[in-house]
Symmetry: C2
Subunit: 206 residues, 2 copies
């Protein structure tokens, strides 16, 4: 792609560094900003810089928060003995959206992935173990994605918990509600048969 302006080329280049944004999309976005009033660009760049410079993570669960301890951790109505371990703040948002969970969270900030150079020390694992050591937590719920990296991370944390008095569980895997059995993949279907639950509990859940 040949640009008629260095300024334009530079803006497109920086935009195309974002994940899933190719050169063509980047050009479209940049030209859109150029056509809009100046405030649009200013609001966007200010919001991004401000977030990056002033972002704060909850010192308890490592979720993004504007206060030292986030709204979930400081809510006295939530069950402090239950901690759900997730990868990312998007997972917190997804679980919160269900309105089915009343415990706290712990955001790891990623998964152990030797391929991408992410080791246990890059994640919030030590703070999690310390949290458990303090004795308030009775159950840890692993809610990482069920990939090799997710399973490795679960197992690593599980090993670190040895000798500590805490129950561990993982969220249920199975056929999505509303899905047809014939289209489900074998692994999921297999797991959902092995981990079947009493019919009475399935009635209660709905």
């Amino acid at each position: 792609m040949e640009f008629s302006s260095k300024l334009l080329e530079n803006a497109v280049y920086e935009m195309s560094q974002l994940p899933g944004i190719g050169k063509r999309t980047a050009l479209r976005l940049v030209l859109h900003l150029l056509k809009q009033p100046e405030e649009r660009t200013q609001l966007l760049t200010e919001a991004l810089s401000k977030l990056k410079n002033q972002v704060n993570f909850c010192k308890k669960c490592h979720n993004i928060s504007d206060t030292e301890v986030c709204a979930i951790c400081s809510n006295p109505k939530r069950d402090e003995s239950l901690v759900c371990v997730v990868e990312d703040i998007r997972d917190v948002m997804a679980i919160e959206n269900t309105s089915q969970y009343n415990g706290l969270y712990h955001v790891l900030g990623g998964k152990i992935s030797p391929m991408e150079g992410v080791g246990p020390q890059d994640l919030n694992i030590v703070p999690l173990i310390n949290r458990v050591r303090q004795g308030e937590v009775k159950e840890l719920i692993f809610a990482l994605s069920s990939t090799m990296e997710g399973d490795t991370t679960n197992f690593y944390i599980y090993k670190q918990l040895e000798g500590l008095d805490v129950a561990t569980s993982t969220i249920a895997r199975g056929i999505s509600v509303g899905d047809e059995l014939e289209y489900a993949d074998e692994v999921t279907l297999g797991r959902s048969i092995l981990n079947r639950i009493p019919f009475e509990s399935s009635i209660k859940a709905t």
Copy 2:
């Protein structure tokens, strides 16, 4: 979507104002920037602000340019008597990529579109007519998209040119090179039969 931080919410909102970027994609992009070193955000915001504040349009063809007159307009090897009328600077880039055109351009900055509130006065049409009036231009090539808005814009400009000594043409529409006839839409196939060209010229073009 409920956010745990106002700063985050604000950044996601501004990002989602870009065309084709929904709330979920915006969140993914913003969280990506958060994970990256601070320079990434800084480089992006600086490049965008700089472009918006310092952008300059070639005073002859209205293409984005870092100089008063762009590299194409100031190139003495290009044919000044030929001007290709396009909607957007992306069209200039697309035509330049073909290496088949040696004339100059005129970037309108859009199409006449009453639905979107874009009238002739919002486009660079008056400068185009003035350019033709100066007498250097012998032929105008309309290369707008063949939508209703594009056709309207072509026709509006054509009417404004009445009495001026300039030839007008439009780029050829037809079946794409390499395409199968059976899959072509009828309008395109119909036009490509009506506007057939002597076989000898088609051999020369390849």
